[in-house]
Symmetry: C2
Subunit: 337 residues, 2 copies
């Protein structure tokens, strides 16, 4: 829902071209802890009047106030779109090709990555539309083109040249709207195909981190080695254009050893992201699960500053208590679940 | 300087395509009022970990802390650019054409407006390069194209069709890089040509407001009538793609009647922007001169919330005191000039 998207500053495949939620909110109406109601801005697209409260509430996870109205900016629908899918012999080659594509100046609408495990799952368990394509089960980039029809034609021919040095294995360019939908459906169905093969009684832990794009191949490779060493079945999907990726790990929630392994795996991924100057949360905020990591990521000065803001506007800590930060010692508020 | 750009969340002609300063700052290092130092974020382009302190400090005009380090995102230089200049019989027609261009989905790099007064000044007082073009002295749109060479060709032919219903008077499309530079130079020199014709002893009051794009023609027309009725010489330049415009008004700073007139003129322009759900500051923040209007724009709840944040992190009001808000009654801080 839009409210959740605002409160977590979420984003997805189109963020590469359009940015994240914070970039599309013009103003918010917010009910504060003391019951007063404010509106953060008026209607213009551009504004530099006073503190940017809009961006302070976006991503604050409801801890500074309850958002009751949201005014969004609209984007013009591009005249045309198209899709290409390109597989590579390794994650390194795919990441290098992605970097070259980003630097080329081609205005891609999205630039996504799926690893060989995810491609295998798609090949075997995708919908009928998805299985019309004989997918190559190796690290794969999904490109969305958007713009005028003429511009897209030019972009496609440039892309062919740009990826050539990275030993592409298979290249699919959509020849019509049906093929475009079929190709992109593989990306859309990624999570659902994983859910559909999850054994009875198993759970799936899906988490994301983001790193500078130059470190993306390295962290994906190391995270995959890690989950594989721990004997866990996991796939990787990446918003590679933003240096952001998700690992979905399956585990038996009733098996203690499994539980420890998956926790370890997720924890190590976050530590590794921090070592690479990354973030423990690219697009799903902090909630309860990542509170400890937030301190590791930003340091006590930034956390103390955030808490000072929180304390000033919600002295009883009644707004979504226990999210983002622990309640202060002695607080009478009850943590939300 | 970059520091000033960050602290005022400033922007200019390229904001239509690229957004404002807040969209390009990845993290900030800030010295707080108590002497502690924080870093707002790490390096990834995308991040949803904790409160968005980056956007809180951007545009805070140094009132929440002193920014000492800034990490910026870079944009890829487009493969090619070009420029077109189109004049119209009235501001209404120019604004309607602009709206149609925005909604067409063509990815313009910039979409600027100059009124007939500014075009006259450019024609007579521009540099040699600018005077190579015989400008039409009527309301004029300046378009910057950016993208691949092929895409730009397609965009230019679409633009010709889009503006046709609005009775364009003169259309210049740059045929080579020299013409592109010459045409855009007229926009770049706008402010300097105004300064160069300012009579000895006169001052120029340049201010900006922003409104929803649908109201832009109306507010420009009314502001021009207003300054003209008051007998003031004024030109209008607009970042029309963002609903944002500047009026530059000349006045004799030693003449009290002139001073009253120009104050009235600027004050009325801001009231009018607020009536149209606009903002008193599109891109130059609040400073000292617009403090009163900020309250009118946002209401006491939003201002009180901002002051609560300020008070919590700078209890002695020592950070750029007197900017954005007045000092609290009884404060020992001395207002900055």
């Amino acid at each position: 829902m839009v409210g959740g998207m605002v409160s977590t500053n979420c984003s997805g495949t189109n963020a590469f071209r359009y940015g994240t939620m914070k970039d599309w909110v013009i103003n918010l109406t917010v009910v504060l802890a003391d019951g007063s109601v404010l509106k953060t801005r008026r209607r213009p697209r551009k504004n530099s009047a006073g503190y940017n409260l809009t961006s302070l509430f976006v991503g604050a996870e409801g801890t500074l106030g309850i958002v009751t109205e949201i005014t969004l900016k609209l984007a013009v629908v591009p005249q045309d779109t198209s899709v290409a899918v390109i597989s590579f012999p390794s994650i390194d080659e795919a990441a290098k090709a992605a970097t070259k594509l980003i630097r080329s100046g081609i205005q891609l609408g999205a630039l996504e990555f799926m690893d060989e495990v995810q491609m295998q799952v798609i090949n075997r368990h995708g919908s009928e539309a998805v299985r019309r394509t004989a997918w190559d089960e190796s690290p794969t980039l999904f490109l969305k083109f958007s713009g005028t029809t003429d511009a897209i034609k030019g972009d496609i021919s440039r892309v062919k040249g740009i990826v050539q040095p990275f030993q592409p294995r298979k290249i699919f360019f959509a020849r019509d709207k049906q093929e475009e939908a079929d190709l992109w459906a593989a990306r859309k169905e990624a999570l659902w195909t994983m859910t559909s093969i999850k054994p009875e009684g198993y759970s799936m832990w899906s988490t994301d981190v983001a790193v500078p794009i130059s470190r993306l191949a390295e962290i994906i490779n190391r995270s995959k080695e890690d989950s594989s060493k721990l004997g866990l079945f996991a796939s990787v999907i990446g918003h590679v254009g933003d240096g952001n990726f998700h690992q979905a790990v399956m585990y038996d929630a009733k098996n203690e050893q499994h539980q420890r392994s998956v926790s370890q795996c997720v924890h190590d991924m976050m530590s590794r992201a921090l070592e690479m100057e990354g973030t423990v949360s690219g697009e799903h905020a902090i909630g309860i699960g990542k509170k400890d990591c937030l301190v590791d990521e930003l340091g006590s000065e930034a956390i103390d500053f955030m808490k000072t803001l929180k304390q000033a506007v919600d002295p009883k800590w009644i707004m979504n208590p226990g999210k983002v930060f622990d309640l202060p010692a002695g607080s009478k508020a009850v943590a939300a679940k």
